[in-house]
């Protein structure tokens, strides 16, 4: 069995000895996470689960609409506060207390190698960086998990991605993802396992950025192995005695792709879709932009803020560009303040918002107009994703976004 099959086997409610593609496995879930968006699903408010299967295994996190942008949303999410009290939820993170659920989950030590996480947000595949299986699920399905602690997975084929060597200074984890999607395309129902010597040159922020973006290939799971880098991260977050899962020697993979990290150059995804729509920046000519955005579960981490602070220090954002920067969590915001990144960013003419998913989903804190041409390090470039369907969304690394914000056109250096 490969890593993914073994984690599913370990969590099966029935005693089973093997898991392979085509199987359906019913599993116990280690943590179920509800984000504020659940309150915008009418069923959740009208028919909430009677009681949680285990209140210590439930987290409620406000992230998409922090702080609420209008009365309707303010009233809806307030009902989640009531629920947090009713269920005595200790892992409740209100406005100003936490941040984007996927990033917060790692900071809080919920991502223990070998575990299974369910979350109402579609980027839960991000947990794969931590040797954890996570899946985004619809709110009605999460309601069932809250009540029972169980869910099911259909086991897909698993592809093997081998990373070799290391990235050049000018390239980022987002460019690794774009190179991978160019090579592999979309893989609905299939999984990814990452292997190879190149992994030791990718830190946890970079791995998280890559695993998060695998949702955009329609992958089920995308998992990294446990190693010293992950071990050190967990130790520094007070997580000891972990039980990582490794593939068997005869693990099966449907296909293998080799990716040489040193050959990866800065890339962008053109508007409306990522699949069959990415190009190296060196080949795109001059594309002017008027909005730049850095943030989201994929690229709102401290290394993203470091990358853009380095570009922006003692420089000015181009006069035609509005630059919005959103740290993923309060801890990241705080660290960026201490390290001076926030002043470098603000002094350049960019705006720094509070942690939220805001601009990525076109919810608030940077909704686009019909004429906007955006370069963003967020997760999705669907038509209308960030606001008006007339706006055009290009995706790139945070470094690319900052360089583009200074130059006024999409730039990889």
């Amino acid at each position: 069995m490969n890593t993914i099959e073994k984690i599913l086997k370990n969590h099966s409610i029935d005693e089973i000895h093997n898991v392979s593609p085509g199987d359906i496995v019913t599993v116990n879930v280690d943590k179920a996470i509800i984000v504020d968006m659940a309150a915008l699903h009418p069923e959740f408010i009208n028919n909430p689960p009677l009681k949680p299967f285990d209140n210590d295994k439930i987290a409620i996190i406000f992230d998409h609409f922090v702080p609420p942008p209008n009365i309707e949303i303010a009233n809806r999410v307030d009902k989640l506060r009531k629920l947090a009290r009713l269920w005595n939820i200790k892992d409740f993170y209100d406005v100003g207390r936490g941040g984007i659920s996927h990033v917060l989950s790692s900071e809080k030590g919920w991502l223990k190698p070998g575990s299974i996480i369910a979350n109402t947000d579609s980027h839960t595949i991000s947990t794969g960086a931590f040797n954890v299986l996570g899946r985004g699920l619809g709110t009605p399905e999460l309601m069932g998990i809250i009540a029972t602690g169980k869910t099911w997975f259909m086991v897909g084929n698993t592809i093997n991605i081998n990373f070799e060597d290391k990235l050049s200074e000018k390239s980022s984890a987002k460019d690794v993802f774009f190179s991978m999607v160019k090579l592999v395309g979309d893989i609905p129902n299939d999984n990814i396992e990452f292997h190879g010597d190149g992994i030791k040159h990718l830190d946890m922020d970079q791995r998280s950025s890559i695993s998060t973006m695998c949702a955009e290939m329609s992958a089920e799971f995308a998992i990294f192995p446990f190693d010293g880098i992950l071990g050190n991260y967990l130790e520094s977050h007070n997580i000891h005695n972990v039980n990582p899962v490794y593939p068997d020697k005869d693990a099966e993979y449907s296909r293998t792709y080799d990716i040489d990290l040193k050959n990866i150059e800065p890339m962008v995804a053109f508007p409306d879709r990522i699949i069959n729509n990415v190009k190296p920046i060196s080949e795109i000519g001059k594309i002017e932009i008027n909005v730049a955005v850095v943030g989201s579960c994929a690229n709102g981490r401290i290394s993203d803020l470091k990358d853009i602070a380095k570009v922006l220090k003692n420089k000015k954002v181009n006069k035609n560009v509005r630059f919005i920067v959103t740290p993923a969590t309060m801890d990241i915001y705080d660290e960026a303040l201490r390290l001076g990144y926030i002043s470098d960013i603000v002094e350049s003419g960019a705006i720094v918002t509070n942690p939220t998913c805001g601009a990525c989903l076109g919810g608030h804190m940077g909704v686009s107009s019909e004429n906007d041409v955006i370069i963003s390090s967020t997760t999705r470039n669907f038509k209308g994703r960030m606001g008006s369907p007339g706006s055009k969304i290009y995706l790139g690394s945070s470094r690319t976004v900052a360089l583009s914000a200074v130059n006024g056109y999409i730039s990889g250096e």
């Binding site: 109402t120 709110t139 009605p140 038509k383």
Partner: protein, 173 residues
């Protein structure tokens, strides 16, 4: 808008609306839908990529999609199609999260590789979940059925009904 009731889940006959590859959740359920009244939401489905389409849909119509149908978010995108009257989604391949959400909302969604080469917009298709065939222009196309326990969720009208029947849900917040 009438909320479409499936009277005979075993056999669906409807007119085809054809869409391309990578039709995402945000096209089916744009951001604006989150705070609209329930009855208004479905009319925004595909408003960015196919303005005016939602008003043309009739109860029992069928959506045929290309590869990677439903890629994207966990939002209730399938609900918008179902509440417009769409009786079934058939696509070359379907994003796993969309498939789950569709089943959990009681909307039949089927992966049928090759379907886009055999069906044209406006065709009348008959989808039979007893003998697992789609019939169009007198040609019968076999498909791999959904697992029984997923069909059971669909036949119950979605997961909420099942949770209610098991007394797992409480009073409004």
């Amino acid at each position: 808008m009438d909320i479409f009731q499936v009277s005979d889940m075993k056999k669906i006959t409807g007119k085809v609306w054809k869409f391309g590859d990578d039709i995402n959740t945000d096209l089916m359920y744009p951001q604006i839908c989150y705070t609209l009244r329930e009855e208004e939401k479905p009319y925004y489905a595909m408003s960015a990529n196919r303005p005016g389409w939602s008003k043309l849909v009739k109860n029992g119509d069928v959506v045929i999609g290309g590869k990677n149908f439903g890629t994207g978010s966990s939002r209730p995108a399938a609900d918008n199609l179902k509440n417009l009257g769409i009786a079934c989604v058939v696509a070359e391949s379907i994003n796993g999260l969309f498939l789950r959400n569709s089943v959990n909302s009681g909307l039949l969604s089927l992966e049928v590789p090759g379907i886009t080469t055999k069906v044209n917009e406006g065709d009348i298709v008959e989808i039979n979940t007893e003998d697992n065939t789609i019939t169009v222009n007198n040609n019968a196309i076999k498909f791999k059925p959904l697992p029984d326990f997923l069909m059971e969720i669909i036949e119950n009208g979605g997961i909420i009904n099942i949770l209610k029947n098991k007394n797992l849900l409480g009073n409004p917040l």
